[in-house]
Symmetry: C2
Subunit: 355 residues, 2 copies
């Protein structure tokens, strides 16, 4: 049995479906479709023709339609001129929005319990590397979530519960574009059964079935950073350790689990530390923060920033550290990006956004 | 004021000394010595001549002696034929043992509160990269500790307390040698004031003082992986982000803080879950483990393994995951490296080492 089939069987046993499979026609999604189909999961395929590569895009669509017909699987296709739709906005994020909206539409129509995308450990490694290079904490290190919370339960019992899962990427990722395609906006019931499987495993699975596939659009991708990670950095890392992709994927898993623990503790700390608001000013008890571990204080501020919808895009490592110093260790007041002022006044910490 | 001086001032204000500075004569340690000296900390320099590079080693020693004389700082030198002493054992770990034992000796003689080593953010980045490539969890991602618990208090109030600090590296690092020089065995009161400072900052500091230094032995190092990380991988990463060293150093800091939180929770979970031993068999309440987050269960097993002194060297990601599955989710029994058997029996988990 191939690695792909083993992983997908495990998934299918826990999540019988019906489900929607997002299929581009590339190796990863074709392997996922074939494996889910082999497991007998009731399926609906969703394919989006972004019309970005002319005849090639149409050939991808025709390939997916033919494959579905051969397998006897329902196929829903949306064809949309994404370039026209984006009209100067970020093309990749527009395409992603269109794609996931269509998947959700098909899922609703099919009464599906989940939407499966074919992200692999290689995608995970690229995402993790991209964030490592750019700078990331635990939150970003989680990479692509193996499932995305929503109206459905997680794929297996030991995964974090939907209530605790904080699946959104650090906001500095929003619109960065370079690896954006790997991190869609939060949707209900997205699952990624191949996240522990490498691209080599995928190709082995297809070879075993003698199953052709289309050249993945993202492989011909001209987005600079992602391509360099895939074609320069990962090959170099593999000369150190041929299994580096799995190593990075494992680390992302550990980071996700650790982040869950810290975020749970942070939510609790915020509840304990928060005092009644003074007008628009948020008031926290300083002593409660000072007594807590630094990682939890940092996460608490993050939870607060998110809850208040304060901008985090320009909150650097140093900015968060500075905020922790004020909140927990009485450093002098500071204004943060987005006009959020933090200051210590006697025994409390006051946070206000200047509007 | 240079970055080096700023960081060292902050350190010196919190930890007045007297202190021991480990000085090889290389750029990092010379910069550290000059900065600590400028801050007026009462100092003792410790230098080990490993006699591994003939006249070069002796010239290093002479350089350090002359520098100390010029600064009016006491200088203690130990000259030892490390190659003869190692006698076939790992040379690097023997040298490290000799070095840190001598530092501790000088510290005792001087009544020093701390022993400062000159590891920089570059050393940190190399260590983190090495572990990322080889495969690591949160514990290894912490890299080099900015201080090492012992009979002294941590360098600043917001650092984790010595009681909670788990400073020993993952045991898979022990004796691996390739980056071993960066991770000495646990000692009392080791501090690393330059861990947030890059090598470029160090060179800028020396240039500002017009202070020469010896070529660092580790730069001429022939240890393969470390050299390739320094001379191939890091330069490539810097083409993505010139600040990648700081990004990795920050991440290590976050990992250390998160690891502390998880380890604290794990110690607590172990206390709650443990039942009286049945002979040599350790007995844990399964329900208590099942209710805990996966990251904490994994850390709890790690704490237990360490406490029992069971071998962890061959415990891979998958092995730990398997142990978690048995302990918390009733997977079938398994024997782990070192002969540790884990099995679920009714409502308890039994762990025994076959001897």
């Amino acid at each position: 049995m191939t690695r792909v089939l083993r992983e997908v069987r495990r998934f299918a046993a826990a999540r019988p479906g019906p489900g929607v499979v997002a299929v581009s026609g590339g190796a990863d999604s074709v392997a996922l479709l074939r494996a889910l189909h082999a497991c007998g999961s009731p399926l609906f395929v969703a394919h989006v023709n972004h019309r970005l590569r002319g005849a090639d895009s149409d050939a991808d669509e025709a390939f997916v339609r033919a494959l579905c017909a051969a397998l006897g699987v329902a196929c829903r296709v949306k064809s949309v001129d994404v370039a026209a739709l984006a009209a100067g906005d970020n093309l990749e994020s527009t395409a992603r929005r269109v794609r996931y909206a269509f998947f959700a539409e098909v899922a609703a129509e099919a009464g599906a319990a989940w939407i499966a995308t074919a992200h692999t450990a290689d995608d995970q490694a690229e995402t993790v590397l991209h964030r490592l290079i750019r700078g990331t904490g635990l939150q970003g290190l989680r990479g692509i979530a193996s499932w995305r919370a929503g109206g459905v339960s997680p794929p297996s019992s030991h995964k974090p519960s939907p209530d605790n899962a904080p699946p959104s990427p650090p906001s500095s990722d929003e619109g960065s574009g370079s690896l954006g395609g790997l991190m869609p906006p939060a949707r209900r019931g997205i699952v990624r059964p191949l996240l522990a499987v490498t691209r080599a495993d995928v190709l082995a699975h297809l070879a075993a079935l003698n199953q052709p596939h289309r050249e993945d659009a993202s492989n011909a991708d001209t987005r600079f950073t992602r391509n360099r990670i895939r074609h320069e950095l990962l090959p170099l890392l593999k000369t150190f350790n041929p299994d580096v992709v799995s190593a990075l994927a494992h680390l992302a898993e550990h980071a996700a689990e650790a982040h869950e623990v810290i975020t749970t503790a942070a939510t609790e700390l915020l509840t304990n530390a928060e005092r009644p608001r003074a007008g628009a000013t948020i008031v926290l008890d300083a002593g409660t923060l000072t007594a807590a571990p630094r990682a939890v204080v940092r996460a608490t501020l993050r939870v607060l920033w998110d809850r208040e919808d304060w901008p985090v895009a320009n909150m650097t490592f140093d900015a968060w550290d500075r905020a922790v110093e004020i909140a927990a260790h009485n450093a002098s007041a500071c204004d943060f990006p987005g006009g959020v002022g933090v200051r210590r006044v006697g025994r409390v910490v006051q946070l206000t956004r200047r509007v």
